[in-house]
Amino acid sequence: MGLEGNGARPAEAVNPAHIVAVRDFSPETLAAIAAQLEASTDFEHLVYREAELDAIWSITGFAMAQAQVGQALPPANQEFAARLHAVAHRAHDLVGECRPREAAALLREFL
């Protein structure tokens, strides 16, 4: 599964027409997505944000699954992944409802 798209951009270069490269669920990646959410207005932007949040939800899901089969992350990371998994789900649904600012606020609050 490719988790990159449309050319990764550093976090400070906010352009909602670009997809953030989701290589991990680090604070930097989450901050970049939150910034993109805050700048998103069009149908296309919201699709890209949904794709990014889908990717976060997917990789946190993989991390949680690894923990279940004994390849555990440190407990703090496990808890972080589980909480972020839930937040990404909620943020994803907010984007689906055309509410990207609220989705951004959720991510910012999580950070």
């Binding site: 490719g2 990159e4 449309n6 997809i19 989701v22 296309e44 949904e50 794709a51 889908d54 990717a55």
Partner: protein
């Protein structure tokens, strides 16, 4: 991912469902015209959007699509006799015309006049592009036919096939717009391994897909909402100073096109819900400039690409899940990634293996699924808009469908919209 509610909303298309109402705003392909080849020919069964129907061509050549069951005792009109401008139920002789009106009721006394009062559901039809189209929606909202290029070329320039797939329509469309699977599912082992000697062999290939797909397996997606649906552009690195672009369209409610390289034929699909667990896969190959070539006919005959052989009665492909799609494990080890013959059967095998309706709450998407996400979101928006009594724009603007897929190599500093402008307009 989708919520359970969204998944239900998108995948249920029977009468009275929101997505069913949406599909019932468009003309949909129903039959190959040659399934009802001549006046008074045998009727054929047809299931669409969860409705059981019968189609027949009457004495004057008009095609009728009517509810399958006689209202008298509910016997199937499929057994009916097609005669003198109507389909007569052979159980008790009631006869219905293409408008669904009962025009004869010989087992009742004429003074009762029942035959003037009885009718069955009947849907309008039009023949266009070698296909009988039908409209299952409200009579006061009849849309325009989509001006699709394949429907406008001469008969010698196109080939159309129809097959039955045992999945909901949505996961079939998703396969149609998912550009990234072709590097894997449809690849040869040699291409997948991309060994240096293979790359050397293809580096000057005129087939852009063969040449560039392997060089960049994580393409960049761009989507754009349009009057017809979605334009989906996929960018891969080509040479040092160029990108290889592939543009495909998702045309509402369920048409797709495979990126076209000038000089070859174009291929596209229309995915029509048969019911919630099966769909009709219409596959069109057309050359806008010339009759299909011998090579193109060979690919059709040998079922190597998008067409596959079907049982002529059920329209179920000969390669199907009951025979594991004819998988050849030796071939899979040595030559093709799947060991299954033909792109159509390969796609069908994957999509049917997901179950009749995939549980989209359990999937794990990434950004390579951007086109799928966009298509679902657009359909959800359109369905919600119709629930708010906003009629779909595309249904009433057939000219919007005058587009063509494309693939091309452009300098990296040329915007795709600009560089491909001359390629994406249909010409016929």
């Amino acid at each position: 991912m989708l919520s359970r509610e969204e998944n239900e909303l998108l995948t249920r298309t029977g009468p009275g469902t929101p997505a069913g109402d949406y599909f019932r705003r468009y003309w949909l392909p129903a039959l190959q015209a040659n399934e009802v080849p001549a006046p008074d020919c045998p009727p054929v069964r047809l299931r669409m959007l969860g409705e059981d129907l019968v189609a027949f061509r009457d004495t004057e050549g008009r095609v009728g699509i009517v509810y399958e069951f006689c209202p008298h005792r509910r016997a199937s009109l499929f057994w009916g006799r097609n005669e003198e401008c109507g389909l007569r139920c052979v159980y008790h002789g009631w006869k219905f015309d293409v408008n669904g009106d009962c025009v004869d009721m010989p087992n009742e006394p004429p003074e009762y006049g029942f035959d003037n009062k009885v009718r069955i559901a009947a849907y309008p039809t039009q023949e266009y592009g070698g296909i009988v189209w039908t409209y299952l929606g409200p009579p006061e909202r009849v849309p325009e036919l989509p001006k699709l290029e394949w429907a406008r070329v001469p008969t010698s320039h196109r080939y159309i096939s129809k097959r039955r797939q045992e999945t909901n329509y949505l996961q079939a469309i998703e396969g149609g717009i998912d550009s990234s699977h072709s590097n894997f599912l449809h690849a040869s082992v040699e291409a997948f391994r991309a060994a240096p000697d293979y790359l050397e062999k293809i580096k000057n290939s005129p087939n852009l897909r063969a040449r560039y797909h392997l060089l960049d397996r994580a393409p960049r997606f761009t989507v754009k909402k349009t009057d017809y649906g979605l334009a989906i552009a996929v960018r891969r690195n080509a040479e040092e100073d160029t990108y290889y672009w592939r543009l495909t369209q998702f045309l509402l409610p369920s048409h797709t096109m495979i990126p076209y390289q000038k000089g070859n034929s174009i291929n596209g699909h229309c995915w029509v819900p048969r019911d919630d667990e099966t769909c009709w896969v219409w596959t069109m190959s057309w050359n806008p400039e010339a009759p299909l070539s011998e090579d193109e006919w060979k690919a059709i005959r040998e079922e190597t690409f998008v067409h596959t052989g079907v049982d002529p009665v059920t329209l179920r492909p000969y390669r199907n899940k009951d025979n594991d799609y004819g998988i050849d494990r030796t071939q899979q080890r040595n030559s093709s990634m799947t060991g299954i013959h033909g792109f159509a059967a390969q796609d069908q095998a994957m999509q049917e293996s997901m179950g009749p309706t995939v549980d989209r709450t359990r999937e794990r998407l990434g950004t390579s699924d951007t086109a799928i996400i966009a298509m679902r979101r657009l359909l959800l928006q359109e369905i919600h808009a119709l629930q708010e009594r906003q009629e779909p724009f595309a249904a009433h603007h057939g000219d919007a469908y005058w587009v063509r897929s494309a693939s091309t190599v452009l300098k990296r500093d040329v915007a795709f919209d600009e560089g491909a402008r001359g390629l994406v307009a249909a010409e016929v």
